[in-house]
């Protein structure tokens, strides 16, 4: 399997595309800045959200039990899943019990994390994603490349081609109006005919047992309102204590994500319609483990806005698929090693530690500090790059001895000056696109000794 650096290098073979991807996401970051800077108490809002989430994480088991009791009181069936496999099995059983073979699903990064779609397909159940971006990547047989903008890596011409192949429009159409109309007609038919709808959950309220789903397209609502069975999958960290706390998060979420004041739909689901079944699946899948890691627990504050991706100079130039995990970008890089330290050992290193992610995070997760800390954990646990380890050992010895350092420095400057072929070759990754520094006659240390 290729690592982030290799996948990023592949993405960079088409520089024009990288520029387009970077500019597109930078435009979203600018919209976010504009929205954030229009709110006088923006920084206070972030701090408040952070504190509310800290409170939730510090008493999660009680809030979960409170939520469960209230949800049951409201007539919702509550399920607990310790991992992805259990979650997928619960979904399958609900559908089997109701004799349902076709389901419509609105956006849920959790089901991406659990790889629900392939599991259901293997079990003879068809799933159609109803979020426009997700439908597009589903037709392309690709995973989403961004948690809020799943097909941000696709150009409108490529979407036109997909719709030509799958939805029967003429070839060569790239007008967004026509493409959206096409998807709309296609999805209307799906909404009307599917008996089960699965949605994600943006926020669940412990005090009332209700949950809130935020979308711009209203697709979650159309799926859930027309279906006989509504299944909502949520990570156990999605709770807020009370309804009043929602106001803080709803003000932050869309502004951070896209620069909108609020999502078009913030839909509250509290109890099933007469005759409808409503299920909530509370999924752990590694979250308790993360909660038990003091250095990393507050990554569970994340509300999945994607702001850290839009601002990340690495993400913008490497594309979401280079992270080879459901949740890409800086937040994905601190979540994924918790699930599998070996497979995702590369991700905490896919960053310059510039810190912009931490600054845009609406719930103030110290993302770049956690990237640094994951690097230490990964090396200690033996998942680091072995070759790098030997170099680091030598470097550590050299730099902790002034004599060795001065000798090595002289040698290094001599090599650059007199044997540039030794460093100026394609095997030296620095030299591929960059010249070496011009070596000075003497170091500062030696100049100081001779002149002062």
């Amino acid at each position: 399997m290729k690592n982030h650096a290799e996948l990023a290098a592949d993405f960079n073979k088409d520089e024009d595309r990288v520029n387009w991807h970077d500019e597109t996401l930078w435009w979203v970051r600018q919209k976010r800045d504009k929205a954030a800077h229009q709110i006088d108490n923006w920084e206070l809002l972030r701090e408040t959200a952070s504190q509310i989430k800290n409170n939730v994480l510090s008493d999660l088991s009680n809030y979960l039990q409170q939520f469960e009791a209230n949800a049951i009181k409201n007539g919702i069936t509550v399920h607990w899943a310790k991992d992805a496999a259990e979650h997928n099995q619960i979904v399958k059983e609900i559908l089997n019990r109701n004799g349902i073979k076709r389901m419509v699903k609105s956006k849920s990064m959790l089901t991406e994390e659990c790889h629900l779609n392939p599991y259901l397909e293997q079990n003879g159940i068809e799933v159609i994603d109803s979020d426009l971006g997700e439908r597009i990547v589903q037709l392309a047989e690709e995973p989403p490349s961004h948690i809020v903008l799943p097909c941000i890596h696709k150009k409108k011409e490529e979407i036109g081609e997909l719709f030509h192949q799958h939805l029967g429009i003429e070839a060569g159409i790239s007008d967004p109006q026509i493409l959206t109309e096409t998807a709309r007609l296609h999805l209307r038919e799906i909404f009307i005919t599917r008996k089960a709808a699965l949605t994600g959950v943006n926020f669940a309220i412990a005090e009332t047992g209700e949950f809130v789903v935020c979308t711009n397209e209203g697709n979650a609502d159309m799926g859930a309102h027309l279906a006989d069975v509504h299944i909502a999958s949520m990570g156990i960290e999605k709770l807020v204590p009370q309804r009043k706390h929602l106001s803080v998060f709803l003000r932050l979420l869309a502004r951070s994500a896209t620069g909108q004041p609020i999502t078009t739909y913030s839909s509250h689901f509290k109890k099933p319609r007469p005759g409808q079944e409503m299920h909530i699946i509370l999924v752990d899948n590694g979250r308790s483990t993360q909660l038990g890691r003091p250095d990393f627990r507050n990554s569970l504050k994340c509300i999945r806005c994607g702001a850290c991706m839009n601002t990340c100079p690495v993400y913008r130039r490497s594309g979401g698929h280079s992270y080879h995990t459901a949740i890409a970008g800086p937040i994905g890089s601190i979540l994924a090693p918790n699930l599998d330290m070996k497979d995702y050992a590369d991700l905490p290193f896919a960053s310059t530690l510039c810190g912009s992610c931490t600054n845009v995070c609406p719930v103030k997760i110290d993302i770049h500090d956690q990237l640094y800390k994951w690097r230490q954990v990964i090396v200690k646990e033996g998942y680091g790059d072995h070759k790098k380890g030997i170099g680091m050992q030598v470097m550590g010895w050299t730099l902790s001895s002034p004599n060795l350092f001065n000798t090595a420095g002289k040698a290094g400057r001599w090599v650059i000056k007199h044997a540039p072929f030794a460093v100026n070759n394609p095997l030296n990754p620095w030299y591929k696109q960059r010249d070496m520094p011009n070596p000075p006659k003497e170091s500062f240390g030696s100049w100081y000794k001779n002149n002062r």
């Binding site: 650096a5 960079n12 520089e15 990288v18 930078w26 800045d33 954030a36 800077h37 006088d40 923006w42 920084e43 601002t311 100079p313 690495v314 130039r317 490497s318 290193f349 896919a350 960053s351 310059t352 530690l353 510039c354 810190g355 912009s356 600054n359 845009v360 640094y372 690097r375 230490q376 990964i378 090396v379 200690k380 680091g384 790098k388 680091m392 550590g396 010895w397 730099l399 902790s400 002034p402 350092f405 420095g409 290094g412 400057r413 990754p429 620095w430 591929k432 696109q433 960059r434 010249d435 520094p437 000075p440 003497e442 170091s443 500062f444 240390g445 100049w447 100081y448 000794k449 002062r452």
Partner: protein
């Protein structure tokens, strides 16, 4: 008279002695007694940022031996100062490490916050682009960050404003990372180089003759790209501009 211990990071010592000399001379001009502990090497950041913090213990020990006794430590590198502040291995010398956390300064923050400089006798009749190093800006907070809804300030920007005939250019992305990132520059070569190319093109599009910064490592990376592209744009450490150099 204030006594300052000068910390010259390893790569500046070896590759950019002029930035170090300018720092020394500038501080002396401003009436500071500067001491250079001769046995210094490196802050340990290259190992630590690569996940080998434990191999930086030798560097930490040496740093504490060299610098713990001074009331002020000044360095022309925001990145190395941030590393010392946040990750100096305390070990058995926690008290010394805690002291150093408060005594170490990046050059422009020392000039602004301790010496409270309001005037400089230097001139630099050129168009200059200021590159904000992420560790100086977001780590040490020497400038306000574009992500935050908070009042603007810039310590290096204010100092450059005191230099006669210097024209500071605006940038499209005033605080985007250059992509150096320590060992990131080789382990993620493709992205590192692309980030650097994008950063220098922002400066070039706004007609910079010089790119300056309070961090030489960002400049080393951008210089490598500029030289490869045979560009006329040069990099220069902010200490050299503030000290007044013949270019």
């Amino acid at each position: 008279m204030i006594t300052v211990a000068l910390f010259i990071p390893c790569y500046i010592d070896q590759f950019y002695p002029n930035a170090a000399k300018a720092t020394l001379q500038l501080l002396e001009k401003l009436g500071v007694n500067v001491v250079y502990p001769p046995n210094q090497t490196c802050c340990g950041q290259p190992m630590a940022n690569s996940g080998y913090e434990h191999l930086a213990a030798g560097c930490s020990k040496l740093f504490i031996e060299n610098f713990a006794e001074y009331d002020y430590i000044v360095s022309p590198s925001g990145s190395c100062v941030l590393h010392i502040k946040e990750h100096l291995h305390p070990g058995e010398t926690k008290a010394e490490a805690d002291k150093i956390h408060h005594t170490i300064y990046e050059l422009t923050e020392f000039l602004t916050d301790v010496l409270k400089i309001e005037h400089l006798n230097s001139s630099f009749p050129h168009k200059v682009g200021l590159h904000q190093s992420c560790h100086g800006q977001r780590g040490l907070k020497i400038s306000q960050m574009s992500e935050l809804n908070a009042p603007y300030f810039s310590k290096p920007g204010k100092l450059l404003g005191m230099v006669k005939d210097l024209e500071l250019i605006d940038l499209s992305r005033p605080d985007e990372c250059c992509g150096f990132g320590g060992t990131f520059c080789v382990s993620e070569e493709a992205i590192s180089a692309k980030m650097g190319k994008d950063r220098i093109s922002d400066h070039i599009q706004h007609h910079a003759e010089f790119i300056t910064s309070a961090d030489m490592s960002c400049l080393m990376h951008m210089e490598g790209l500029l030289n490869r592209q045979k560009s006329d744009v040069k990099v220069i450490h902010i200490a050299e501009i503030l000290n007044g150099v013949a270019v």
